[in-house]
Amino acid sequence: MRKIEKITVTIDGSQVSGCEGMTILELAQQNGIDIPTLCHSPELTPIGACRICVVAVEGSRTLVGSCHTPITQGMVIYTHSPKVLETRKVIVELLLASHCGSCYMCEKANVCQLRKIAADLEVGLPRFQTRKRYYPIEDVSPYIQRDLSKCVLCWRCVRACNEIAKQNVFGIAYRGFNSKVVVDFDQPIDKEVCQDCNVCIDICPTGALSKPREVGEEKKGRPLVISS
């Protein structure tokens, strides 16, 4: 077997070492440095989509995603430089700008990672106004309720369903701003396709996926549809 190389890097001014193949995020965490993440989950293959976890690396033109970039010998990394913090802040504000849900009304507000990251970065009212993503709540399934107006397109549910639950219920459809996590032909999720495993609900960082409050009881009335 090949010997595992020790790699020494400088992270926020101190020299630390890690193993070959480790990501910047893993090394930072090992050394007690907190880097916010949204699309990343240690149980899933990284996709590098949200860009919240960016850090500065000397010699790199852009910031790099720490959740997927492996450490290399001699790397000099800054996880909390002003540039890094400002960039993360803009990204969170962008996500909040198109986010329809009101935290006040959201059942998952206390566990919402987007909200926590926003608070940590001291994000106030977003600087930007974009179209809002509004989708009616999907509550036909007894196992899962989807409120995609709160989705941040982290793809965690897609990957979790695929990689952990091995079910492949979700896919990503459309393109750009209109991208959306869909079931079949973009239909509301129902009990035919979903097996009540909770994997995606637990892994969703926002209030987009949740347990229906009263399992089994059909909700009355049609969802309010506001066309943009």
Partner: protein, 148 residues
């Protein structure tokens, strides 16, 4: 599924390629029908949502039926500088529909598209796979007449 559709599933090493399959369906049926998506998902052993996801990513694939002929006028800057607005207007007048619509007789669908690489002869448009360049409002009626 009807017999015709089997021939559309590609053979050999392209057999396993979802995008190639969808492109075939598009050119055969003028759109990617739902049954085709279901069939493709089965034959590749992937979920319907995954196939639907690919079909809706690309702007030359459509999951809704389109007209027999698809007009795509270039709306990008170089054509815009050469008055593509007027071309759009004359197509609208000629066939009586707006971009994004299909004529009631199903003869034409009308879309706007991004640069089609004919900016040296702007304004330009595609009808199906044919490129029409150096357009003027006066030429539109003649061109459209040649599509049955």
């Amino acid at each position: 599924m009807s017999k015709g559709q089997e021939g559309v599933l590609p053979q050999g090493k392209e057999q396993e390629n979802l995008l190639v399959m969808l492109e075939r369906a598009q050119s055969e049926f003028g759109y990617v029908p739902e049954e085709f998506i279901v069939e493709a998902a089965h034959s590749l052993n992937v979920s319907i949502s995954e196939v639907y996801g690919v079909a809706t990513f690309y702007s030359f694939l459509s999951t809704k039926p389109l007209g027999k002929n698809v007009i795509r006028i270039c709306k990008s800057l170089p054509c815009y500088l050469k008055n593509s607005q007027m071309i759009i207007k004359s197509v609208e007048d000629e066939i009586g529909i707006k971009p994004g619509e299909t004529t009631p007789d199903g003869k034409f669908s009308f879309e706007l598209t991004n640069c089609i690489g004919a900016c040296d002869e702007a304004p330009a448009m595609l009808i199906n796979n044919d490129v029409h360049v150096n357009l003027t409002p006066g030429k539109i009626s003649q061109i459209l007449k040649s599509y049955k």
